[in-house]
């Protein structure tokens, strides 16, 4: 797994920097997806991704929560060690496979995150 927000040389996430989920403005315009729809999300929860906490708004998928946290890859391919994350976003490509609570090969883009989920990447 790796991301804009701090991954170690081994490809796993390092550090425990606080990450926000989605409501980051787009620079000078001050626009954000939250402002666009007038969202006032109910209290969220955290899942753990290789031990690191990642915030979730109830209803978000594991893939979306990871992406929002700046984690854009969480799988390495078998042959070429290529890193993968979201690609099709709707369950068609199988690029986004993760292990959640020990269950392997779940599509992160379809799997709704639940409080206490332990996500492990490979």
């Amino acid at each position: 797994m790796s991301g804009v927000g701090g991954s170690g040389p081994d490809g796993r996430v390092s550090g425990a920097s606080t990450v926000r989920n989605g409501d980051e403005g787009g620079g000078m315009s001050g626009a954000s997806p939250y402002r666009l729809v007038g969202a006032r999300p109910e209290p969220g929860f955290e899942v753990r991704v290789d031990g690191r906490p990642v915030p979730v708004v109830p209803g978000q998928t594991v893939g979306a929560a990871l992406h929002a946290a700046g984690i854009r890859t969480w799988r390495t391919t078998r042959f070429g060690d290529r890193r993968r994350g979201l690609f099709c976003g709707i369950g068609v490509c199988f690029d986004c496979l993760v292990t959640v609570n020990g269950v392997e090969n779940l599509r992160a883009c379809l799997t709704e995150a639940r409080p206490g989920d332990e996500v492990t990447t490979s």
Partner: protein, 483 residues
């Protein structure tokens, strides 16, 4: 509409002998505009209807809904025509809505009905729903073409960017390039810009005004195109035609793309290249109908205006298999308006066929047929206005992956061709593209085109991955076997 956790008629994952008891008059796979419209029509006419969808909320792709956890004051801000969704939702009547149900196989039952095999929820509980009639409204997925770097993290489909935003309120990236072909690029770019992303450019490989003659013939569409143009201009987003992203670059993650000026066949001109920095590329070359389920049932296919396979239906959306109907993108990519209209037509046909009466148009709405012909004509014109140019193959290098799952590079596909593999099937057997997790959904079209063929309809025994246990259980249930 009924919540999905209420007890519903169910043949039961292990429900030997329960089949006839709890059979629905109509089971609809897909809760997009097509499926929802059909469900409303059939449920209001008194049929027992179930709508199955893999997703957690109704709406499908176009009307993908935010989770309630966001408590959005303006959920419609991300949608064009949100009131139409509200109308569809409120018209569902008594239809049972079974969400989180992934349909992995459909079969004909011995009595003429159908068994719809699902995996329910994250626990993947096996469940079989019995239906007298079946409507397949499974929509489409993005068409993607391989190019160097297309498997770098940060490159995703245009639809994926929309799905992240509409369904999760997550921006695909901060600095995004939108590229590919077709009118779908415009809503993707404008919603990203409205949500605060910097859209570094929209690059249409075809002509920027390819659509113009058709749009002018349909004032509503012309106004829509103008509105998108205006919004792009307001966000200072450059929109350029005859430009394609021919390579994506980055050390482990996307940092920039190469945009080339291309000719009418999409072959890059010498020297007409620029480099654009971005953390995300949203790329899409139109859509491919999801035909796994109709193919399993042996429904005949035909070709759309661009040569791609679609479910063949009659004027009333009946497929070639008695009792099976198709509507929406499965019958040809035509957008949400046409999908909804086809859903209405299919719903009426199901009602008439169930009651044994001839299909009569709704007297209150005599213009349905004419409207459908107009929308379908527009869809055909769109496909012709935004064809995929053959020149994309000139973007490939020997080490460019064609198949992302099995990591098959272009060089190996060429070797297979040199060894005499003359068609897509032989290439697949020799070089193994399309043999991985996605079963060729992503690379199938590219492999077919590299073999010089139009893509063939799918031949996948299962539509979703399934455990061996579930397969064995199904095999053991003789009552579902075809006679």
């Amino acid at each position: 509409m009924t919540a999905h956790d209420t007890p519903t008629p169910d043949a039961g994952g292990d429900g030997v002998g329960e089949r006839a008891v709890g059979r629905y008059d109509l089971v609809i796979v897909g809760a997009g505009p097509a499926g929802l419209a059909a469900a409303g029509v059939a449920a209001r006419a008194g049929l027992r209807v179930a709508v199955l969808d893999a997703g957690a909320r109704i709406g499908g792709q176009y009307f993908r809904q935010l989770p309630e956890g966001f408590r959005a004051a303006r959920p419609g801000a991300l949608h064009h025509g949100f009131s139409r969704f509200v109308r569809l939702r409120d018209a569902l009547g008594d239809a049972d809505i079974l969400l989180g149900h992934r349909v992995w196989a459909v079969e004909r039952g011995p009595g003429g009905g159908f068994a719809v095999h699902c995996l329910e929820g994250r626990e993947e509980r096996a469940r079989t729903v019995a239906a007298a009639r079946l409507l397949i409204a499974t929509g489409a997925h993005d068409r993607v073409l391989p190019f160097p770097g297309w498997d770098l993290p940060g490159v995703m489909t245009a639809g994926a960017a929309q799905a992240l935003l509409k369904g999760n309120l997550v921006m695909a990236g901060r600095r995004v390039v939108v590229a590919g072909t077709g009118p779908f690029l415009l809503p993707v770019a404008t919603s990203l810009a409205a949500a605060g992303a910097t859209v570094a450019g929209v690059f249409e490989a075809g002509g920027r005004f390819a659509l113009a003659p058709q749009a002018l013939a349909r004032p509503g569409k012309a106004a829509e195109a103008l509105a998108y143009g205006y919004r792009l201009a307001r966000h200072r987003v450059p929109y350029k035609g005859g430009r394609a992203v021919v390579a994506a670059h980055g050390d482990g993650e996307l940092t920039h793309v190469t945009v080339a000026k291309v000719d009418a066949d999409w072959r890059p001109y010498r020297g007409g290249q620029e480099t654009i920095e971005c953390d995300t590329l949203a790329v899409g070359y139109g859509f491919v109908p999801q035909l796994d389920l109709p193919a399993q049932l042996g429904c005949e296919t035909s070709r759309d205006a661009a040569g791609g396979p679609v479910a063949r239906v009659d004027r009333h959306m009946r497929t070639s298999v008695a009792g099976v109907y198709a509507a929406g993108e499965t019958t040809g990519v035509g957008g949400a308006d046409l999908a909804e209209l086809e859903g209405v037509i299919a719903g009426r046909a199901v009602v008439a066929d169930a009651l044994g009466t001839p299909v009569a148009g709704d007297p209150a709405d005599p213009r349905t047929e004419a409207r459908r012909r107009r929308l379908a004509g527009f869809a055909r014109a769109l496909l012709r206005a935004y064809p995929v140019g053959d020149g994309w193959t000139s973007w490939l290098h020997d080490d460019t992956l064609i198949c992302r799952c099995e990591e098959v590079p272009y060089g190996r596909v060429k070797e297979a061709r040199d060894l005499g593999a003359a068609d897509a099937r032989s290439i697949k057997l020799l070089a193994r593209p399309g043999m991985g997790w996605c079963q060729g959904r992503i690379c199938g079209e590219a492999v077919a085109r590299l073999a010089g063929e139009d893509p063939a309809p799918p031949r996948r025994p299962i539509a979703q991955p399934v455990s061996l246990g579930d397969l064995a259980a199904m095999d053991g249930r003789d009552e579902w076997k075809e006679t």
